[in-house]
């Protein structure tokens, strides 16, 4: 453990990480101010012989300052966070014509359904792979999350993606990886006895490698359907 966020490989992750560190520095200032202040006051105003505490009930000006400063900081953070949130999650932010993949969670596995040769989900030529999600880098991906039994949570740390999969709902999320590599989906929501090992591999291809993989799969799927 090294007090850092894991390597980020997504476009959204850049904004999330920047916001994380912005909040880190803002809270670090408040942290030092309060903790050093408390320790300093403990030392400076310790009980001493012949010294009597100051008799005061408050100071309006001071109280207004330490109400207004946190309030303004919070409003700023709210507006800033809200813009990023909208860029990631608002329905308008979803890329059009993106590759769409269905991920269906169940105790304790992730089933990934890809569109077949017609490149459309929801018909007979779709094919499903258990516990493996493959997609190309440098291209927005839409994942529609489903669950068959209880609530699971789709978490890929390096993509800074997390979204619950809720039975009875189809929840879309989107992301774009900036480089190829192999990672894991982890389940982040307690889902039963096997929760701790509910994982799947994530393989992010270079775009042309993905096309080759996809053609192999759809070929295989068609052969399987023909059988």
């Amino acid at each position: 453990m090294d007090w850092s966020l894991p390597l980020n490989i997504s476009t959204q992750g850049v904004q999330i990480d920047n916001l994380f560190w912005l909040i880190f520095w803002l809270t670090a200032i408040a942290f030092v101010l309060v903790e050093v202040g408390v320790l300093w006051f403990l030392w400076r105003y310790r009980a001493r012989e012949g010294h009597r505490a100051r008799y005061t009930h408050g100071h309006l000006g001071a109280e207004i300052v330490w109400t207004a400063v946190p309030a303004l900081t919070m409003i700023f953070l709210g507006i800033y966070s809200g813009r990023i949130w909208a860029e990631i999650r608002s329905p308008d932010s979803f890329p059009e014509d993106a590759l769409t993949i269905d991920v269906t969670a169940k105790q304790f596995e992730w089933n990934v359904t890809y569109p077949g040769a017609d490149r459309e989900l929801g018909n007979d030529d779709d094919f499903t792979i258990r516990n493996r999600l493959e997609f190309p880098a440098n291209e927005p991906i839409v994942v529609r999350l489903h669950s068959e039994d209880v609530i699971h949570s789709f978490f890929i740390p390096e993509l800074r993606v997390k979204q619950d999969a809720v039975p009875g709902m189809a929840i879309p999320i989107w992301f774009e990886a900036t480089e190829a590599g192999e990672y894991q989906i982890a389940c982040a929501e307690l889902c039963g006895n096997g929760h701790y090992s509910m994982r799947a591999s994530v393989i992010i291809h270079e775009p042309d490698a993905y096309e080759r993989w996809y053609d192999e799969q759809t070929g295989a799927a068609q052969t399987a359907a023909a059988d």
Binding site: A30, A53, L77, S81, P157, P167
Partner: protein, 592 residues
Amino acid sequence: MATTTAGPTGIPVREEHHPQSFIRKYIFSTDHKIIGIQFLFTTLFFLLVGGLLAVMLRFQLGFPGEALPGGSMLPETMAPGGIILPEFYNSLVTMHGTFMVFFAIMPLLVGVYANYLIPMQIGTHDMAFPTLNMASYWLFLVSGLIMLASFWMVGGASGAGWTQYAPLSATPEASGVYNGQILWCISIAIFGFSSLLGSINYITTVINQRAPGMTWLRLPLVIWALFITAILGLLAVPVLTAAVIMLMFDQTIGTTFFLPTDGGQPLLWQHLFWFFGHPEVYILILPAMGFVSEIISNGSRKPVFGYKSMVFAIMAIAFLGFIVWGHHMFQSGMNPALGMSFMITTLIIAVPSAIKVFNWMATMWGGAIKFTTPMLFAVGFVMLFTIGGLSGIFMASTPVDIYIHDTYFIVAHIHYVLFGGSLFAIFGAIYYWFPKMFGRMINETAGKIHFALTFVLFNLVFFPMHGLGMEGMMRRIYDTSRYTHLAEVQDTNTMITWAALGLFASGLYFMLLFFWSLFRGKPAGVNPWDATTLEWSLPSPPKHGNWEEIPTVYHGPYEYSHPDVEKDWLLQNERPDVVSPAHEVTVRQGEA
């Protein structure tokens, strides 16, 4: 002999001073002080249970796959050969949270201190409804024992997390827990009734039975905090009671409130749970803030800085506390636009909390600080609650929450608030009011050792968890070795477990100190801390009925170091001109 006199608000108040049988006096007691002490002993036991569960789950995380020392005594269904099973681990996580939230922290704050302090600090004989008060304690005890009994059920205790997310909690086939899960619901439903009876009682008593002169803005901040907390409890806890009854119907009689089949909706559970759950978070912190205000003022020998803004901050937190629940659900599949509005309310609620921290610091500023054990715990509260409050800003920000939601960052946050915050304040309160409760002191040196151990070990356990969360370590997982992104976390987890064992040991040391002091502590006088609120004008321990004659209150609750008075405190029922006339003070100061 029971006489009836007109109370301060014209309501007849019975004064009972007749001798009572042991059972009426100590077991089925209607005396608020005895009920408070009953809550104290019971909740200390449940605190121990919660701590033991924590140590066991930490053992699995620190030494995965190794046999728990003494674990071979556990049945095969929990830990065959002492090795904790995943299903038992889930029960440990669930029941640790459940015991700590419902049966330790909340009743320690409210059950113990609302009962013990309200009548004495507002200057009345007893609660408005002493019998309801007794019922509240006995329902609480029954609900806690039912929860404990669920460990002995076939299938074990609930393993769905203390938040009991449906459908996992509603579908026995999915969780593998049958009767234990039903007992969870029954226990919490009974707990809900207990809490409701308490809340009604506290609210009624504070409104109606304040002593003459005890105006609203002369109430001690503890009473303000407990009063507002009782309102939160009154409005929020019944929502949970209703929800757990619905959950039990889903499990037992085939309803589908929270199941996606037949028109149910899993997210409905989360909305109901957190509509209770977030006010609950403030139920768990507001009384603690009240204790801390009291103790810091006493330890600094200064009036609380900004008393009125402290009161308004409590009210603001309570009000906003009802409209922030959705921040637990940013990644739940709830409409992202709702996430936006809940983020704004959540960030705003940080403001009154910040006001309180700055006011505590300003109370210390210019003081004459005495390093008593209660004062150390109160200052510890301010330092640690600040960390918990600041880490909350990360998860309030919806984009950052995408990453840290359901990770150890959240675990670190909640423990900084509920342990570093609430439990530190509770320890402070126990040391502070122990002399009043039992007429004996807890040894100061021994108490300071407890503080030092707890403060250091607490930080060793929980601060590194922020780092684990940054690595992406998920909550409630039994084994981190299954994940490539968690390849580097085992050493930290092992270190945390060692520190957690030490923290548990310091808790045991406190328990020993507590019980030793009950019998061997130095006798306490009437007012060992030179404090100002009304209970410190009563003998230690006070008699049944508290007052022979209802006191009259002349001024606010924290008149420390009043310039017209020679001693540096002034009880609320003492008049400065009577205690020491101004001219005498002038003369003495002139001599010095």
